[in-house]
Point group: C2
DNA sequence: ATTTTTTGCTCAATCGTTTGCGCAATGTAT
DNA sequence: ATACATTGCGCAAACGATTGAGCAAAAAAT
């Protein structure tokens, strides 16, 4: 008995030794060992009604024993379905995109999809390259948030010609009819500004982002409309346009705004408002008593500054989920049905930086 | 001539119409239109020396015209190389892993690899599932940072049996011989503690993380050795062991430590030290005069608190790159060569929270 | 002019799965 | 006992690319 075991062991060792890399067990191996045909095994594994329950049992048992893993490449090739989902983001660090991707990965894996991540690094050339890569990888859909330098749509048309569902999220090109998941940035700007007005602020400044991106344009419009609704004048000297929105540009914007003597600032970005906070502090101004502040994105650090920063939560994780859901829906519809927008409502998180009462 | 064109056009339109989904052009299509064999086209595209320059030209021109994209699934199946790289992280939001992934994606895409991201959500069951998924997707390698609940190694052995290179980063199981990229956490703890001693602190507390994870164990050891080197006693009442490291647990840990009257704290986490800062402030203690603080990870918000937090930078992006490099190297070596560790040196970023001079 | 070499390409098998069609064997109705 | 479904499975052709072996024609050597 012991001898037998040793021999067996030896044989296995020999086989493994010969094949060197111990090829993973394929459906063919199962078929041979069970005396079945490959197709029978395939059907058994896919729970085809034409296969008897007994056989299914046998197959599944052996599959587990031999540690069989289906080869997605082969199945994908045959079925024309790779079960891969491509995602393109400008960058992956930074809370917003990271959390959106978290949401995407969660929803996608529940639907049996794997997620391939690409970064455009805010560069349209990279973005084009990403598209090629993803198409070559035979992804079944592409979820993309545009790079800041993307002004034309050409590279996305290839995607649509291929019949690959395309879903944009957060960043979208104005004037294009596409499927997209968006935050109601207008509402975010409006809510935020109205809140400041309710706190008694009258000279409310605004840090605006690049206006060819819908998100920044809409935030600004929400700001303007809130002012108007409450009968406050719009003063262009109270608006600073920033190219990028970092702590540093926030500092600069605040410096630039000081002479106009604002009593509040609604910033399109948390990083920028954090910069403003630093400048105000160095200046000896009190927040929120002299200047109230609100930001956008509800970054983690908004709870860690002093005072804590009021901000607009963007529902990042829901955005990821929603994008995946929209993709799954488009896949069903096979390209008929007009483009649609899913709009998520933002939530104002009020903290000390804007509370005067 | 014009008629001919129209007819041709019509025919194409008809074909496309019939096939409904306008199948992407394959290598076979190219072959047919050029009157070549499939293999010839394949070799031309792969720049095989046996094909004449003239033919290569013809092929490549038509390929561009028809917007041909090679099918990675098919090529992968045949060659046994998917050009896919799997990554498993506990979670993707949070600066550290996000930046590491940025590094991974950068390095991987330069080597022609696509990256598939999975999250274990700090759950070993998920982690096992992730492994299955990635193996099914035929990834050529797996980069993984362990979930906090992973205590055994069984699911990774399958990976190695398959001959799939496995590289761990940052989080590693103690007492296992594996390939890994690590931060020198010991040095981080040592540097940080020594810095506090140099600032004149004598009763230095420590927020320690789960000790079965190497990173936290090593940070603690660095802390202990620095104390010893400078002749300071080790007081167990100055060490708080935390299960998770969040702002909230940091608050609790600080509360717990107050009676011991520390004059400094070296925290294994930035989030936790931010919590400590809040408690101290509420307490009326001054930072750094009464209690100096240092954290770990150099999170973005460390520059935004008041005072700004001293922290240890983990070289996240380099870690991602290094992990990919190690994977590429292992792939060459085909499994011979003993497991190796790549160790990155941390850098102490000194800020106001620990500067008494 | 014949043999040898080189050049440039084709043939056919292969990777692991899926799937339309067909064909026995068994069970049911007549 | 014959005809007709039904059940359970096998055969073989795909999917799109790669690759070793082979083969004809042109070029070079003898």
């Amino acid at each position: 008995m012991l001898l037998c075991f040793l021999l067996l062991n030896n044989t296995i060792g020999f086989i493994l030794g010969k094949e060197k890399e111990s090829k993973p067990t394929s459906i063919t191996d199962l078929a041979k060992q069970l005396g079945l045909s490959v197709s029978g095994v395939s059907r058994a594994l896919n729970n085809d009604p034409r296969i008897s329950a007994a056989t299914k049992q046998r197959v599944q048992t052996l599959a587990r024993q031999l540690n069989y893993q289906p080869n997605h490449l082969a199945a994908g090739l045959r079925k024309g379905k790779s079960k891969l989902l491509g995602v393109i983001v400008p960058y992956i660090d930074g809370r917003f995109f990271a959390v959106v991707i978290k949401g995407i990965e969660l929803a996608a894996s529940q639907a049996g999809f794997n997620v391939i991540i690409c970064q455009s690094n805010e560069d349209v050339a990279h973005e084009r390259q990403n598209i090629e890569t993803l198409l070559s990888a035979q992804v079944e859909g592409i979820l993309v948030s545009l790079s800041r330098t993307t002004h034309d749509f050409a590279h996305f048309e290839k995607v649509q010609q291929r019949g690959v569902p395309l879903v944009f999220f957060d960043r979208i090109l104005l004037g294009t009819e596409v499927n997209a998941v968006l935050l109601d940035d207008y509402a975010g700007g409006f809510l935020s500004t109205e809140h400041l007005i309710e706190q008694g602020c009258r000279r409310i400044g605004h840090f605006a982002g690049p206006q060819h991106l819908g998100i920044y344009k809409h935030r600004r419009q929400g700001y303007l409309d809130a002012l108007q609704k409450h009968g406050l004048p719009v003063a262009e000297e109270l608006i600073v346009y920033c190219d990028t929105m970092t702590v540093e540009t926030g500092r600069q914007a605040m410096q630039q705004l000081l002479p106009a003597r604002p009593d509040a600032i609604f910033s399109s970005s948390d990083a920028a408002v954090a910069g403003a906070l630093q400048v105000l502090e160095e200046q000896g101004s009190r927040v929120p008593e002299d200047v109230a502040l609100t930001g956008f994105s509800n970054e983690m650090f908004t709870s860690l500054t002093k005072p804590r920063l009021t901000s607009v939560d963007q529902r990042c994780e829901q955005m990821g989920e929603a994008a995946v859901r929209l993709f799954l829906q488009l896949r069903q519809e096979r390209g008929n049905a007009p483009p649609q927008h899913v709009v998520l409502e933002p939530e104002l998180r009020v903290r000390a930086s804007s509370l005067r009462t």
